[in-house]
Amino acid sequence: MTITPRAMGVAVDRFDGAAKVRGEARYAYEQPVDRPLYLYPLTAAVATGRIADIDCGAASAEPGVVAVLTYRNATRTAAIEDGELRILQSDEVAFRGQFIGGVVAETSEIARHAVSLVRVDYEERPHDVELREGRGDLRVPREVQPIFPMDTAEGDVDAALASAPVRVDQTYTTAWNNHNPIEPHTTIATWTGDRFTFYLSTQGVNGIQAAVAALFELGPDRVRVISPYVGGAFGSKARPHADVVLAALAARLVPDRPVKFALTRQQMFSQVGYRPPTVQRVRLGADAGGRLVALAHESIEPTSKLQEFAEHSTRATPTMYAAPNRRTRQRLAALDVPTPTIMRAPGEASGMFALESAMDEMAIACGLDPIEFRIRNDAQRHPHFGLPFSSRNLVACLREGARRFGWDGRDPTPGIRRTAGWLVGTGVAAATYPVLRLPGSMATIRVGPDERYTVLIAAADIGTGTWTALSQVAADALGVRVEQIDLRIGDTAYPKASNEGGSSGITSWGSAICEAADRLRDELARHGGAVPADGLEVTAAMPENPHISRYAMHAFGAQFAEVRVHAEIGEVRVRRQLGVFAVGRVVNPKTARSQLLGGMTMGLSMALHEQSVFDPRFAQVVTQDLATYHIASNADVGAVEVHWIDEDDPYVNPMGTKGVGEIGIVGAAAAIANAVHHATGVRVRDLPITLDKLLPAA
């Protein structure tokens, strides 16, 4: 059942806006606590090996040092599966930069300096960090999303490719990307006798609670996690990482004193996951009419030996195009590296760069306009599952985008448009992201006789606008004005919620709130329609969606870019980006637009800038700051236009929403790469597109 939009669809200013623009919204590290101590970590200086000796004497003697933490005095934690979290349990070193200890001191300056006084001797072992196709130990990842199989096959791809009149066979690579939210991962951990209290920056307080409870073998009621404001996340704050464990271990050494721990920017490159680099081969075969007859997409990626993660770059491919013969294949190499993790549109962001670059190459090979080529190959039913789409408006996005962008009449010839020394080109790419629904959310609604509704759910606002948009959802679920809603999130004291991730927040939390609103209505009816003097309270869990087995549910979009490339020097400037999306109902046009344009800009950044350069000799990222790991600056971004088409999807959830956090980045890099090709005639298949790849000979 769907709810009637009244508050939804209104461009409300962010409720937390005034607090944020004054800087008075207090993030985790900024929570006032009594007599805090400061933790600075000791990190491994070798890629693999064991600690032969560790001398903490000088550090311990430093005035102001309260405790020095190593594997020798750390609390023994339970042998949980996630090896990334099992730090300080032995003398083993699993990757360079891994936490092997820390100093707790009265000030951050003392703690950091004291760590430099700890002497560690290692027995180093050779490390294995090479990602390449020929490795004998490449393995199939475990399926992370059972509804999206890692490998798919349909028909006879090889035969179809062999006989196809037009073929594309190319390898595309994407770079190691780090999330780098501007707020680093921060924690204040306090151990008081038998329980932990954490303030920390996370996409999901319940996941942290569960991990800490499991590690320290505590009941979840003895782990309170509060995450007031979150200064960006993009996936790095989705799963618990070792920083939380280190803070907890430190807190155990100094009972009753809050331990403050903020990762440095450098540590953000090894401790909290990253989008793994990918090597992707895409083979396309088309008939003379520009219809795909074969599509093969294969990807290899690294993961760590500690914990498996698969970027799943081929995931979107079986959703996109109606080739009768298809194959996707995903392989992992487990290496001596930090553990990768989800990063904005994991899988789609990297995979659609490859697929949509290849589609551009194939359109050119077929002599077709790239929009027309995509429209010809649009799938009517989900190619892999055979299900109808709950709604699919890829073609509408492409057409509306073409109209708004001024695509008609585009001369496909590359390298012929020049203005004042700059080559000009335009490109297009498609975007998609599944409508994900994460299990486990519950919501409580309380109402008093004053008709104010308190909505409690341990959800997160990582900048996405949850406070505002979820209040709008609650208002419509209850049929009241948004001003009557008091939404409380970010605390394990509230009913548990799934992570903010995979663009699933509104779907999962909103569905739980809608269910609770239904229950509240029933309760009210039992009370004759009037709120009793002592109020009413109901709690409900997110219900199943009966439509999930009947429909494939995906958002779609079309990305356009206009670039200029300096003819002599190779600098790339993106003058214009346009995104048109079909994302179901838009709850708050203001905050949704910000998410989409933020995603598109992060896509620009991925296309042109972002690369954590990994030095295989030492098994570490060497570009570990924001001066060498570039993210787009203001000057890199030109005009960005965001639109969406009206889409009424009654199947996805009661709100009719599909999620907007991820899809903005999907396809953005491919649109830019395709535009660069149109401008210069040079096809760059390895990200980022830096000027040396476009530089003419001297």
Binding site: D13, G17, T464, N634
Partner: protein, 173 residues
Amino acid sequence: MVDVEVSLRVDGTDHRLTVDTRTSVLDALRERLGNTSPKKGCDHGQCGACTVLLDGRRVNSCLALAVAHDGATVVTAAGLAPAGQLHPMQACFIRHDAFQCGYCTPGQIVSAVAMLAEAAAGWPSAVTADGAGRGGGAVVLDDDEIRERMSGNLCRCAAYANIVPAVAEMARR
């Protein structure tokens, strides 16, 4: 550890505090004075989240030692307008939704306020046409000027395309 006593006037209030010589202005504000409006994003001068007005100029407070700024006047985003009120730039940021997570935002806003003053004083930027503002007049802030002058403040949520019109609206006033 070497402790020194310094005076700082922060958002209109005088403070006398003891700091380690190693303490940055940023840490003095955040950890000693409890003013967490300026943010620590990199502690390297590479993100701009810690931007404050130090004796009237925008600076990265993470690279300023508190001991070297004894007696200085500091204005953070929390002090641009009286408590409970918004500076017009802050109102523009809300109206244009020029932020998401809000973590870089106080730095963006302080930077934007200072940047308008710099342009009004005729200071050029890397994209200023030769001669503009040289006669002492203000530099006209088109979008490219705003982009360049605001590039010392990184925004990972990438609200740039909203920051530029927010600042432009203020620049027109």
